[in-house]
């Protein structure tokens, strides 16, 4: 295992200390309670946005804390959902009197831990509403299974919903927009290499020089199927078509497109994938009116990428464009 770390058990703590030093003007990092909170929290009469999940997905979620996006993030151990104590501490810290929205990626662990935190928060008289993202079309949605994973849409949702929350909109409306963004977005991902969980010390799976995994999530797990390595054009087709189909995108639709790197893939390759994506969508008369290319929801040092499309309308575009000032996303201020 080759990593720029000290001890595996110190990874999260060292990261939080690093973030605290890197963004003293934006973040309050509570290393003891393992939460990252917006500097000016709680913002009075603003709905507090809390998200969280295992570490190893940086910049998600800690990098999205700040004006116009999240009010707090709770990072768990690597690939491990945080515990209810963190979520409760974060919920308390960002409650400005207008209630708190929990943004949860659909994983059994995340859902259960947030559930317990919400119960505890409600017990303290804090109004908490939860929204669960489940945009990964690689996994079939079913009432009888754990359902789809929450992946790339989560980042875009945090930005868009953060934009609305900043206007002072009530919790109900903020939650509604969150559900809407989730319903309008889909994702699919692939891996060229495995990642290595520090505590495990070796790659989660082995992949041959001419193989790739299609339909991966963000926890370094193998995907839905293993295929022969293909080029960027073919890979982009494999990822884009199920997203377009499942979302029912039609000619004339406008989308926000995220080409996301899994952590170990350099930007140059993501631009190449973005170029293939725009070619494919152009062929379907779908226009990319907003886009994001980079490492936004990662899986440690995994090489690979995911594609997320969100169908845009006036409202979504407006709040996507609204100012944001976080470590990882910033514009308009």
């Amino acid at each position: 295992m080759k990593k720029l770390i000290n001890k595996p058990e110190d990874v999260v703590r060292d990261t939080l200390l690093g973030m605290a030093g890197a963004y003293p003007d934006l973040l309050n990092v509570d290393v003891e309670q393992q939460i990252i909170v917006r500097k000016d929290a709680p913002v009075k009469n603003k709905v507090g946005l809390v998200s969280g999940g295992g570490s190893g997905h940086e910049p998600m979620h800690g990098g999205y804390v700040g004006y116009g996006m999240l009010d707090a993030a709770c990072p768990g151990a690597i690939f491990t959902s945080p515990v209810p104590d963190q979520m409760l501490a974060a919920t308390r810290a960002v409650n400005g009197g207008a209630g708190v929205l929990h943004i949860i990626k659909n994983y059994t662990g995340d859902v259960m831990n947030f559930e317990m935190a919400a119960e505890l928060g409600a017990g303290e008289g804090i109004e908490v509403v939860s929204v669960v993202t489940n945009d990964d079309v690689a996994v079939q949605d079913s009432l009888y299974t754990a359902g789809r994973r929450g992946v790339g849409v989560t980042v875009l949702l945090e930005k868009i919903v953060g934009g609305l929350a900043e206007t002072g909109a009530p919790l109900k409306q903020v939650a509604e927009l969150a559900h809407k963004v989730n319903s309008q977005g889909r994702s699919m991902g692939m891996a060229l290499t495995s990642s290595t969980v520090p505590a495990a010390g070796k790659p989660t799976f082995e992949l041959g020089e001419d193989e790739m995994e299609i339909g991966i999530g963000i926890h370094g797990e193998p995907g839905r199927r293993r295929e022969k390595l293909a080029n960027a054009a073919e890979i982009t087709e494999i990822l884009t078509n199920p997203v377009v189909d499942d979302l029912g995108l039609k000619a004339g639709d406008e989308v926000l497109a995220l080409v996301n790197g899994m952590g170990g893939t350099p930007l140059i390759e993501l631009y190449i994938v973005f170029n293939e994506l725009q070619r494919i969508l152009k062929g379907k008369s779908i226009s990319i009116s907003r886009s994001l290319v980079g490492n936004y929801i990662t899986s440690l040092e995994m090489a690979g990428c995911s594609i997320t499309l969100v169908r845009l309308d006036e409202q979504l575009t407006k709040y996507w464009d609204a100012p944001v000032q976080t470590p990882a996303l910033r514009w308009g201020r």
Binding site: G76, T80, S81, V83, P84, G109, A199, T204, F205, E221
Partner: protein, 210 residues
């Protein structure tokens, strides 16, 4: 001879030790069909438990187990944190105030724990989870209770059933938890949570036997 609070303390210590020894093994199982963290999750949680219960020699079993439950909830995270946390919390509620457990108490304690896992995780038998070790264990426990065997024998049978339940997960397709994302590819691999469940039940059987 009933199971005393001292036995329970020993059980928890033995569990912590066994889980620590099996950290790499559990993570390896989780690598195949999950995200390679089950070993460190359980190790971290039971390590915290050991610290927490260090001075609880006088506590009753209910208090002990509830402390284990809240500690696991607060330190494990992931799917196993709330599940094992709820299991121990419910086990603690089923044994409130007791300093010794008779056969019926033991069966009731496990039944409460398993019901807690079912409720928290919304899963049932055959979904390739820890329940596939725990449900056969509790069934074996009930049967042993009917047959009026002694506590060491009852726990031995529970552990044996947990073990074969755990092995049965190899053939199953996961429909709950992280392994469900793999669909058919989950077949052929033993479930990590079923394995840690067996280790914990086996630890009790071994504690009582020795």
């Amino acid at each position: 001879m009933p199971v005393t609070n001292e036995t329970i303390l020993q059980w928890l210590q033995r569990s912590a030790q066994v889980l620590h020894e099996n950290n790499a093994y559990l993570t390896e199982l989780d690598s195949a069909i999950g995200d390679a963290d089950h070993g460190s999750n359980m190790d971290r949680g039971f390590n915290a438990v050991i610290t927490k219960i260090a001075d609880m020699q006088e506590a009753d079993i209910g208090t002990l187990l509830k402390t284990v439950g809240t500690t696991l909830v607060s330190t494990v995270g992931g799917a196993s944190g709330p599940l094992y946390g709820t299991a121990f919390l419910r086990a603690g509620m089923a044994t409130t105030g007791k300093k010794a457990l008779e056969t019926a108490d033991i069966v009731a304690m496990f039944e409460a724990a398993v019901e807690g896992v079912k409720a928290r995780g919304k899963a049932q038998a055959g979904e390739k989870t820890m329940l596939d070790a725990l449900i056969p264990a509790i069934e074996a426990g009930k049967q042993a209770q009917l047959e009026q065997v002694d506590i060491p024998e009852l726990l031995k049978r529970m552990a044996a059933s947990a073990a074969s339940g755990m092995q049965s997960t190899i053939g199953l397709t996961a429909t709950k938890g992280r392994a469900s994302y793999l669909g058919e590819r989950s077949v052929g691999h033993q479930d990590p949570g079923a394995t840690s469940s067996w280790l914990i039940v086996q630890a009790l059987a071994d504690t009582v036997a020795s």
